[in-house]
């Protein structure tokens, strides 16, 4: 058995921390894990991505057509994940655009959300749209966008909800209540969308 998760976004969104939480969860659950993180330039507004592979695996990187779950934290960055979509696999699309310098003054040149979604559809992915920034704002912690997505992916990956909340209690020192609220709202959002 293998379960492959591909996370992609822009440096500063918490892509790597999200990967770290998932990795810790899987390790604590007694699973074999490999965790690859693209680090280096990400902090400087560059692309950031990480891959978590759970189960009987050898390679540290997800082969093409093999991601069971993809979380696209920034829409255009998600295009890089298309190669790895497993037909029938799930893709969470976060309604978020971060404009690089060239597009800051010309946002109209950014690829339309619809087209990005269409490409994932053509790759035979099941698409779940989430506006994590809006939810994070509603719980009063804008930075918790990645925790909202953690909630959503936990539902979609059938993770042990209570177990992961307990992990958060241990690992998140500040604003715990708001983080847990963010998690729950993300979890419910995914639940609502798949019923």
């Amino acid at each position: 058995m293998q379960y492959n998760i591909y996370l992609v976004g822009v440096g500063g969104q918490g892509v790597i921390s999200l990967g770290q939480i998932i990795t810790n969860y899987a390790v604590k659950k007694g699973e074999k894990v490999k965790f690859f993180k693209e680090v280096g330039m990400a902090q400087r507004g560059g692309p950031a991505h990480c891959e978590i592979r759970i189960g009987e695996i050898f390679g540290s990187r997800i082969p093409p057509l093999s991601s069971d779950l993809i979380v696209v934290m920034e829409l255009a960055e998600g295009l890089k994940a298309l190669e790895f979509v497993k037909p029938g696999g799930i893709v969470i699309l976060n309604k978020k655009r971060i404009y690089p310098i060239d597009l800051m003054t010309h946002p109209e040149k950014y690829p339309p959300d619809k087209e990005i979604a269409l490409l994932f559809k053509k790759a035979k992915a099941k698409i779940i749209w989430i506006d994590a920034a809006k939810i994070a704002l509603e719980v009063g912690l804008p930075i918790a966008e990645n925790i909202v997505l953690l909630g959503a992916l936990s539902f979609l990956s059938s993770f042990d909800k209570e177990f992961i909340i307990n992990l958060l209690k241990k690992d998140i020192p500040r604003e715990l209540d708001k983080n847990i609220a963010a998690f729950n709202r993300g979890y419910q959002a995914a639940e609502g969308m798949t019923v």
């Binding site: 894990v33 680090v39 540290s60 990187r61 310098i101 690829p111 790759a123």
Partner: protein, 627 residues
């Protein structure tokens, strides 16, 4: 006990288990985290651990400790070996008494944007054995083995990693700490060994280093580590004439492919890439007819396999880079290895993603060039530098600005597009002098960061003073070795829990004989422009030190400035602030049904205040509440 460790963390664990007493290095992606992991344990472990001023110094310190009988580890990225190389060759020929391991991390795929250099050539040219890492477990196991080999042969040894090993976390079986007898530091005076005075000694040392190399091969060839890893291993599949010879990080994807497609073939794993296990390769080639060689970067193993096949006088078909089955550039993804196996076996294994989807994705992809962080002091320096050049009535494309390694090079990107060149640590100052001697009449400016200046910028500065080259050097001093993850350097002000003494860049420049030295604050734009203009006009060597702490570090240390906001009544939506500074805290809102076009400064603002200088309407104001 198993623990989830990255390759670099496993090397750090191996250092503790091996009883290392001195650890030195210079930060460089992807090698940095070995020392970052060890540093917090400095007190408890009793080790001496340091970020040295550059890799050459780091290596010499480690070698000195090893000559005095202690176990020493030095870490660097592949570019660092170039810096250390001069001392490395000499010390390799002399040998050592205590164990001496050089940990080097290569970067196939250029994740950290540097030349895709293959450090295995250094092992060959310096006659030093090299173990090549194929998994995170090996990071720990091979480091211990490396010390064992180093002490048995009496010479240094390389341990080579790559990004895919160093930056991946995986289950690692933790071992026991070796019980070494306490060693007194002692150096025997032996000038035939520790100096190079005289051809006879040099020739004798050359013979010694060759003997040590052969011994290293003998020890490693059938070595099995504590956790059961064989350094070199042959697997024969009956009735199958196909084989794979591999070394290094390709192992994971290769094994994954074997399992996924249920492939049975013979393989030879090589853990020691210099010297190669020649007898094993012979034995392998005798049984197979068609071989694929898997190794990242240059075809070093492949060339040797061809040589050995030639000596065997047997017709073996060898696939790899020479026949262009696989590329020399880039890291070896699963897809590349799968493609290699398809050529070897003459079958097609599995379809890939529809190429139409990938092509369309490529067409609409958004390029994301790296830029300065919110509040980055370098933004202010390049902004002022460009303005100074403009005020002096020069055109932007006639003033050469040489750039250097680190965050400061981001001045080459939009919106500043200041830097013209990026070569190597400290090279901005040397190159600039070459442009002047070549006859460039207009001013030439070199930009360099603080850590880079300490690392290799001082000798070219002395040269410029000595040769009286009219040159402006801007040292962007943010107090940290920031690009690699905020390590300390001799100029760092807020030395955390260390007793190190700070070295003052201004005094260094004075000591080097620079007579025209200025200090600017990159957040004070007007003043900075004036001073840079004066420095450019100065007829000799002038140095401008732009001092402001890295904003990310300042933020971590809870330094708070007043944030800024846009006065909506005054903002005309002209975007001049954005096009001049490209601050990630700015968001442009185009005109829509309800609102006119306007700028927003988000709560991510650090408060550097540069934008207030750019706004023609004076629409950017300080918020009332300091955050």
């Amino acid at each position: 006990m198993k623990k989830l460790l990255t390759g670099n963390e496993a090397v750090a664990e191996g250092a503790i288990e091996s009883g290392v007493e001195v650890v030195t290095g210079y930060p460089g992606t992807p090698s940095t985290e070995v020392i970052l992991t060890l540093l917090p344990q400095k007190e408890k472990s009793g080790m001496h651990i340091e970020w040295s001023v550059n890799e050459k110094v780091a290596f010499e310190i480690a070698a000195g400790a090893a000559w005095a009988g202690k176990r020493a580890l030095v870490t660097m990225k592949m570019s660092g070996v170039n810096v250390a190389a001069d001392s490395l060759a000499s010390i390799a020929y002399s040998g050592c008494t205590g164990g001496l391991v050089i940990f080097v991390a290569d970067d196939p795929g250029a994740n950290a944007a540097m030349p895709e250099e293959d450090s295995r050539y250094y092992a060959k040219s310096m006659v030093v054995p090299m173990l090549d890492l194929a998994s995170q477990q090996e990071c720990l196991d091979y480091l211990k083995l490396a010390f064992e080999i180093s002490e048995k042969i009496g010479g240094p040894i390389f341990l080579r990693s790559t990004t895919e090993i160093s930056h991946v976390a995986s289950d690692v079986e933790i071992g026991k700490k070796l019980k070494l007898e306490k060693r007194e530091a002692r150096l025997e005076r032996d000038i035939a060994k520790y100096t190079k005075a005289g051809a006879a000694w040099c020739m004798a040392q050359h013979q010694d280093v060759l003997t040590r190399l052969a011994e290293a091969s003998k020890i490693s060839d059938s070595y099995v580590t504590e956790s059961g890893i064989k350094v070199n291993e042959i697997h024969f599949e009956d009735d199958n004439k196909y084989g794979v010879i591999y070394a290094g990080a390709v192992e994971g994807n290769f094994r994954e492919a074997l399992k996924r497609y249920n492939i049975k073939l013979s393989w030879l794993k090589i853990g020691m890439v210099h010297p190669l296990p020649e007898e094993r390769i012979k034995k392998f080639l005798e049984k197979v007819d068609k071989v694929l060689v898997l190794e990242e970067l240059d075809p070093l193993v492949e060339a040797e396999v061809m040589r050995i096949a030639y000596l065997l006088n047997k017709k073996v078909e060898i696939l790899g880079k020479f026949d262009q089955t696989l590329p020399i550039t880039g890291n070896y993804s699963f897809k590349k290895i799968k493609n290699g196996l398809e050529v070897l076996l003459g079958v097609e294994m599995e379809s890939e993603q529809d190429s139409k989807i990938l092509e369309r994705a490529k067409e609409i992809e958004v390029k994301r060039p790296t830029s300065f962080c919110i509040g980055c002091p370098h933004r202010g320096t390049y902004f002022a530098l460009n303005k100074a050049i403009k005020n002096l009535k020069y055109k932007k494309d006639e003033i050469i600005i040489t750039g250097d390694i680190g965050c400061t090079i981001l001045g080459m990107n939009k919106p500043f597009e200041s830097c013209w060149t990026e070569v190597a640590m400290g090279a901005s100052i040397g190159l600039a002098q070459g442009f002047k001697w070549a006859g460039i009449k207009k001013p030439v400016i070199a930009t360099i960061g603080d850590s880079t200046f300490f690392h290799a910028g001082i000798p070219p500065l002395i040269n410029a003073v000595y040769q009286k080259v009219p040159l402006t050097i801007i040292i962007l001093d943010n107090g940290w070795t920031a690009m690699t993850g905020f390590e300390e350097n001799p100029g760092t002000i807020h030395l955390s829990k260390t007793n190190n003494r700070r070295v003052d860049i201004i005094k260094v420049c004075q000591g080097c004989g620079v007579e025209d030295i200025h200090i600017i604050d990159p957040y004070q734009t007007e003043q900075a422009i004036d001073i840079i203009m004066k420095a450019i006009e100065y007829p000799g060597v002038s140095v401008v030190v732009s001092q402001r702490e890295c904003a990310l570090q300042a933020k971590r240390r809870k330094i708070k400035l007043t944030k800024h906001k846009v006065n909506m009544d005054k903002c005309t939506g002209c975007r001049i602030c954005l096009t001049s500074l490209a601050c990630p805290a700015m968001v442009f809102h185009p005109k829509d049904d309800q609102n006119k076009a306007y700028m927003e400064i988000t709560s991510a603002c650090f408060g550097c205040g540069l934008c207030t200088y750019t706004c023609p309407e004076g629409a950017i104001e300080v918020t009332k509440d300091a955050v």
